[in-house]
C-alpha cells in the first residue's frame, strides 16, 4: 500500500481528510497548514459557524407550571441581571395576592441554537427555577452535542476540534451525573475547554477544577472536613495529571520510600497523597445557591465558590512537599494544582496521551520524550499547548506508517461525511447512532474518557454498528431534513460509465487508501447491479442506464461498503 505521507498526516490531524483539504496542503505545504491551524482565526465565519447559526432543532414537551417556559427563560435572565435575585420569587403570586394556579403549556417548535452563547450565570439561573422543564435543561447540553458534531464535520479549524475532543475526554465529565451540569454545559464547553484548548495546561487544569461540571461530577462541591470526599483528588493525580503510571501503590503509606519524596519532589503518588490532596480541596465548591447552616446560601452564578468553613486548614504533605497549616484561602488547593501540573510525570503522561491521540496507539518513547521536553520548556507559556501541538504535528512520526490508529466512531462517521461532501444537520438520531457505536458524546460514565486504542474499538459491536450507520446515512435511513448525501449531485457530469462512477467515488472517499484488491472487489460489486434479486453484470465502459432513484440507492450502498472496508476503519 503506498499512501502519501501528506494524506496520512492530514487524516490524523483532522476528523478525516478530504480531497479539497489535501489539495490545499499540497499547495501551501504541511508546515504552513499546521501554522494556520495552530492559530485559528475566530473572526472568520467558517462553514461550521454558518451552519450552527442556521441550525434549527425541534423541541417538544408539555409543561405544567405558573408561567410559560419562554417567560421563565426571561425571568431567569432577569434574575441573572439582578445578581442573585431568586427568579422563582417573581411569579409565585398572582395579581390578587393569591397563590397563582399552575397551567398547562405545550411547546412544539423548531428553534435555533440559542444557548451556545449564553453567559454562565444566565444558564445557571434559568434552570435554577422551580419547575423549570427538564427538556429545556437537556436542551443546553443537546445544543453543544449538535454543535460539536457540526464543527467536527465542517470546521475549518480541524486541529482545534480534535484538541477540544481530546480535552473533553481527558477531563471527562458525564453530563448525566446531574441536571445542573447539562444546564451550564454550553459555558463549560466554551469558556473552559475551548478557551484553553490551545492555552496553558496549568490554567486549563484550574478552570476545570473550578468549573461546576467537574465540581459536581467528581463530587468536590460537597467535600468538607472531615473526612473529605476523595473522588476528585484521586482522579486529579491518576487521570488528569501524573497518570496511573505514576501511582506507586506498592509503597502504600511509606511516603519516605517514594523516590524524591524526602527532597519534596516525589516521583509518583500514593494513597496518602490522595487523602492529603482531598483535604487541600475541601471547601472548593460551586456557586450553586445551595443552602448551608440552615438559613444561608451560596451565591448562585453557577461559578466557583470557596467556602472557608468547610476547609480543613491544617498542615498537609503532598508529593513530598509540605503545606503549612492555616494558609490563606485557596492556597492549599492551588499548591496541589501547581505540584500536579508542573510535575515531570505529568509532562510525560500528557505528551504520551496526545501522541496516542494524534499519531499511534503505541507512540515511540523517543517521540514522547521530545514532546515532553517542549511541554516542560513552555510549562508557563500562555500558549504552551500550541508549542506542544506544533512538535507533534511536525514530527516525522505524524506521517509514519498508516493504520496505527483505529478511528473512534466520531472520527469514522465524520470522515465519511467529510469525504463524501454530505450535508448533515445533526439531531437526536445522529447522536443516538453514535452512542450505539460506543461513543456517546459527554456521556462516558467513568472519569477515564472514551478509550483511545484499537484494543477497545476493534470490537464486533462497534464495527458492525458503524458500518450500519454509514449505510443508513448513504441510503435514506435518516430523515431527509437531517441527511442529504447528494451523491448524484456531487458526481461530476462527465462521469457516465460504471467504471467512472466507481473510480470517482473511491478516489473521493479514500484517495490511494484502498488496497488494489479492495478496489477491484468493490468495483466489481458496483458493476453487478442486482435487479429483482437477479444480479446483472455490466461492462466497465457501459454507460449507466438506471433511473435516478435506483442509481442513488445503488451508489449509496456502494459508498457505504467502501466505508466498511478495513482500510477506512483506520487512520
Amino acid at each position: 500500500m503506498s499512501i502519501s505521507p501528506t494524506y496520512i498526516a492530514l487524516n490524523r490531524a483532522t476528523f478525516g481528510a478530504t480531497s479539497e483539504e489535501l489539495a490545499r496542503v499540497e499547495k501551501v505545504g504541511w508546515s504552513a497548514w499546521v501554522e494556520e491551524q495552530l492559530k485559528p482565526d475566530s473572526t472568520v465565519k467558517d462553514e461550521a459557524e454558518k451552519r450552527i447559526a442556521a441550525h434549527k432543532l425541534e423541541i417538544e414537551y408539555e409543561h405544567e407550571g405558573l408561567m410559560a417556559p419562554a417567560m421563565m427563560m426571561q425571568a431567569g435572565k432577569a434574575g441573572a441581571m439582578m445578581q442573585g435575585g431568586k427568579p422563582e420569587m417573581m411569579a409565585v403570586e398572582g395579581k390578587d395576592g393569591k397563590k397563582a394556579e399552575k397551567q398547562k403549556f405545550k411547546v412544539k417548535e423548531k428553534r435555533g441554537l440559542t444557548l451556545l452563547d449564553k453567559p454562565l450565570d444566565q444558564l445557571f439561573r434559568i434552570q435554577n427555577q422551580e419547575d423549570y422543564p427538564y427538556k429545556e435543561i437537556q436542551r443546553c447540553s443537546y445544543e453543544v452535542e449538535v454543535a460539536t458534531i457540526i464543527r467536527a464535520c465542517y470546521s475549518k479549524w480541524q486541529v482545534r476540534e480534535m484538541l477540544v475532543d481530546f480535552w473533553h475526554n481527558h477531563f471527562n465529565v458525564n453530563i448525566d451525573a446531574d441536571n445542573t451540569i447539562r444546564a451550564v454545559w454550553p459555558a463549560y464547553d466554551r469558556d473552559v475547554v475551548r478557551k484553553h484548548a490551545f492555552g496553558n495546561f496549568r490554567e486549563l487544569l484550574q478552570a476545570v477544577a473550578q468549573g461546576l461540571p467537574m465540581l459536581y461530577y467528581l463530587n468536590n462541591r460537597s467535600s468538607k472536613a472531615s473526612p473529605a470526599n476523595e473522588n476528585y483528588a484521586r482522579e486529579l493525580f491518576e487521570l488528569h495529571t501524573l497518570g496511573a503510571e505514576h501511582y506507586l501503590n506498592h509503597l502504600h503509606k511509606k511516603w519516605r520510600e517514594v523516590p524524591g519524596a524526602l527532597e519534596g519532589k516525589a516521583e509518583g503518588f500514593i494513597d496518602q497523597d490522595v487523602y492529603e490532596a482531598a483535604r487541600a480541596f475541601t471547601g472548593w465548591t460551586a456557586a450553586d445557591g445551595e443552602d448551608y447552616d440552615d438559613d444561608k446560601h451560596f451565591p448562585d452564578d453557577g461559578g466557583f465558590y470557596y467556602h472557608a468553613q468547610w476547609h480543613d486548614p491544617y498542615q498537609k504533605r503532598v508529593l513530598g512537599a509540605e503545606l503549612e497549616a492555616n494558609q490563606p484561602p485557596l492556597a492549599d488547593g492551588m499548591a496541589v494544582l501547581d505540584l500536579a501540573a508542573f510535575h515531570p510525570g505529568t509532562a510525560i503522561y500528557l505528551s504520551r496521551k496526545l501522541c496516542r491521540r494524534f499519531i499511534a496507539d503505541q507512540p515511540s518513547e523517543d517521540l514522547v520524550r521530545r514532546v515532553a521536553k517542549v511541554w516542560t520548556e513552555h510549562a508557563k507559556s500562555p500558549d504552551q499547548i500550541v508549542y506542544v501541538m506544533r512538535e507533534i504535528l511536525l514530527a516525522p512520526e505524524m506521517s509514519g506508517a498508516f493504520g496505527q490508529k483505529t478511528k473512534r466512531p466520531l472520527e469514522f462517521i465524520c470522515s465519511f461525511i467529510r469525504a463524501a461532501g454530505a450535508d448533515v444537520r445533526p439531531e437526536e438520531d445522529i447522536i443516538d447512532r453514535l452512542a450505539e457505536c460506543g461513543q456517546h458524546l459527554f456521556h462516558w460514565g467513568p472519569p477515564t474518557g472514551h478509550p483511545d486504542t484499537a484494543d477497545y474499538w476493534q470490537s464486533p459491536n462497534s464495527l458492525l454498528k458503524r458500518w450500519k450507520f454509514a449505510r443508513d446515512l448513504a441510503t435514506d435511513g435518516f430523515d431527509g431534513e437531517v441527511v442529504r448525501m447528494n451523491l448524484l449531485r456531487n458526481t461530476p457530469a462527465d462521469k457516465k460509465t460504471w467504471q467512472e462512477f466507481a473510480d470517482y467515488w473511491l478516489d473521493r472517499l479514500a484517495p490511494d487508501l484502498l488496497e488494489p484488491h479492495t478496489r477491484e472487489e468493490l468495483t466489481k460489486w458496483f458493476r453487478e447491479y442486482e435487479d429483482d434479486g437477479k444480479a446483472r453484470h455490466h461492462e466497465p465502459d457501459a454507460e449507466i442506464s438506471l433511473n435516478e432513484s435506483d442509481l442513488a440507492e445503488h451508489l449509496g450502498e456502494f459508498v457505504a461498503l467502501a466505508a466498511a472496508t478495513p482500510e477506512f476503519q483506520l487512520r
Binding site: E230, L464, W525, P566
Partner: protein, 410 residues
C-alpha cells in the same frame, strides 16, 4: 515488533507453559456446554452497605444509619441464615430478590473478598482483576482471564463468548473468538451479496481483518439460529412463562439479550455483562437503593428466565473493590478494599456466606481504614472454573496464583 505478537510471546514466557496446551479433567462435570456468566459491578460496590453486620459497634460508629443495613427501623436490612458464626449479617433492604435466590440455595456470597493488591484505583484494580493478576507490572503483558479460559476450553460452537450490551471488557482482551453485541436480531448487515463482498475484503491478516471476519461470521451464525415465523421474519424473544424484565433497566435489557443468545444453543460458554455506577462518593443512600434494587431484580429475572440451564450455568458477580468503612462528609463513601462477590447456580453451595469475616475493629482493618480481604477473588474463580466450567486447573488462567484452600462453594 508487532504488539499483539509481543503480548502473546511474553505471556507464554510468564506462565512458562503454552496456554493452549491445557488438558481437561476427564470427569469434569458438564465440561462441554457449561455457561459461565461474569457480571461486573463497576465503580466499587459498597459491600458494607450491601451486606453488613447490623449490630457491630464499629460498623455503627463509622457510618450513619442510611449507609448501613440496620437490625431495625427505616434502614432495616434483610436477615440471612447461615451467616458468619453468630453475626447478624443483613442484606440491604432493596435486595429482596437476592434473598430469594439465597434462600433457594443457589446463591452463595463471599464477603471480604477481592483483589489482594491494595490498589484503590478503579482502573488499575479492574485492569488487574480482568487480567487475573495481582501485580501491576503484569498488566501490560497479560490477556484477559476469560480470554485464557476460552482458549483452554477450545470450544467448537458458533458463538463461544459474548460481551452483552457494550464493547469487550478487558477480561476478554485479545480474545480471538469473543463477540460484543446488544440484541442478537439486530446483529446483521444488508443483503447476501454485500456480506459476501465484505467477507472477501476482510480476508487479510491484521487485527482489523480478524475482527471484521469474526463479525461477519457471527452475523451468518446468528441469522441461522434466530427463531423465525412462517414468512421468515425474526420473532421477538419471549422470556419463560412468568418471567418479566420490566423495570430492570439497562442491566435487565442486557441480561434479557443474553438469555436469548444462550438459548439459541450456539455453543455459548462465556458471557460478560457490565453494570456501572457503583462509585458512590456522594449521596449514596438514594443511588445505592436504586442500584441494589435494579441489580437484584434484574439478576433474579435472568436466573428465572434461565431455569432450564440452572445446572449448566454459573453466574459470578464481581466488583473491583469495596468501599471505606467510614463514610465521608458528602454522605457517601470513598474507595475501600474488601467487597462482596457472589456465585449463583444449581449445585453451588448457596444459602450460605462463604469465606472468613474478621470484623471491623481498627486492628482488623486494612491500613486501619478498610475491610481487609480474607479471600482472594481468584480462589472463588478457581473453584468455579475447575468444579463447574470443566478446567483441570487454572495455572494458565491465573499465572503464579496458588490457591491455599478452597472455600467449598461448589
Amino acid at each position: 515488533m508487532n504488539r499483539r505478537h509481543f503480548l502473546c510471546s511474553s505471556l507464554a514466557t510468564l506462565t512458562g507453559s503454552r496456554i493452549t496446551n491445557l488438558t481437561f479433567a476427564a470427569d469434569a462435570p458438564q465440561s462441554h456446554d457449561h455457561l459461565l456468566v461474569v457480571l461486573f459491578l463497576r465503580g466499587g460496590c459498597d459491600g458494607l452497605n450491601l451486606l453488613g453486620p447490623a449490630n457491630d459497634k464499629d460498623y455503627i460508629a463509622a457510618r450513619p444509619e442510611w449507609l448501613r443495613a440496620t437490625d431495625a427501623g427505616k434502614f432495616e436490612g434483610i436477615a440471612l441464615k447461615n451467616g458468619y458464626n453468630g453475626i447478624d449479617m443483613r442484606l440491604h433492604r432493596e435486595a429482596g430478590a437476592l434473598k430469594e435466590l439465597y434462600d433457594s440455595g443457589h446463591l452463595a456470597m463471599i464477603h471480604a473478598c477481592g483483589l489482594k493488591n491494595g490498589s484503590r484505583s478503579h482502573f488499575e484494580a479492574q485492569d488487574m482483576m480482568e487480567r487475573g493478576v495481582t501485580d501491576q507490572k503484569n498488566i501490560s503483558i497479560a490477556s484477559g482471564w476469560l480470554t485464557r479460559t476460552i482458549e483452554a476450553l477450545s470450544p467448537h460452537g458458533l458463538l463461544p463468548a459474548v460481551a452483552v450490551g457494550g464493547e469487550l471488557p478487558d477480561s476478554l482482551l485479545h480474545s480471538k473468538v469473543a463477540v460484543s453485541m446488544s440484541e442478537a436480531r439486530n446483529f446483521t448487515y444488508g443483503r447476501e451479496n454485500q456480506l459476501a463482498l465484505l467477507k472477501r475484503l476482510y480476508e487479510g491478516s491484521e487485527s482489523i481483518h480478524r475482527i471484521g471476519k469474526l463479525t461477519l461470521d457471527t452475523i451468518t451464525a446468528l441469522q441461522s439460529k434466530l427463531t423465525r415465523d412462517g414468512d421468515g421474519n425474526v420473532q421477538d424473544y419471549t422470556p419463560e412463562k412468568g418471567v418479566s424484565y420490566e423495570d430492570t433497566g439497562n442491566l435487565g435489557e442486557s441480561l434479557r439479550n443474553l438469555a436469548q443468545i444462550a438459548k439459541m444453543e450456539a455453543g455459548l460458554r462465556v458471557a460478560t455483562v457490565d453494570y456501572d455506577g457503583w462509585d458512590t462518593h456522594e449521596d449514596q443512600e438514594y443511588r445505592f437503593n436504586e442500584l441494589v434494587s435494579e441489580f437484584s431484580r434484574a439478576l433474579s429475572s435472568f436466573y428465572n428466565d434461565m431455569s432450564r440451564f440452572h445446572s449448566k450455568m454459573t453466574v459470578v458477580v464481581h466488583t473491583e473493590f469495596g468501599r471505606r468503612l467510614k463514610s465521608n462528609q458528602s454522605e457517601g463513601t470513598d474507595h475501600g478494599y474488601g467487597g462482596v462477590h457472589m456465585v449463583l447456580g444449581n449445585g453451588i453451595k448457596g444459602g450460605k456466606l462463604h469465606g472468613e469475616w474478621r470484623g471491623l475493629a481498627n486492628d482488623q482493618l486494612d491500613e486501619g481504614a478498610d475491610l481487609a480481604i480474607t479471600t482472594d477473588y481468584r480462589t472463588v474463580l478457581t473453584e468455579v472454573l475447575t468444579q463447574r466450567v470443566g478446567l483441570a486447573d487454572t495455572k494458565s488462567i491465573f499465572p503464579g496464583f496458588e490457591m491455599k484452600k478452597a472455600l467449598g462453594i461448589v
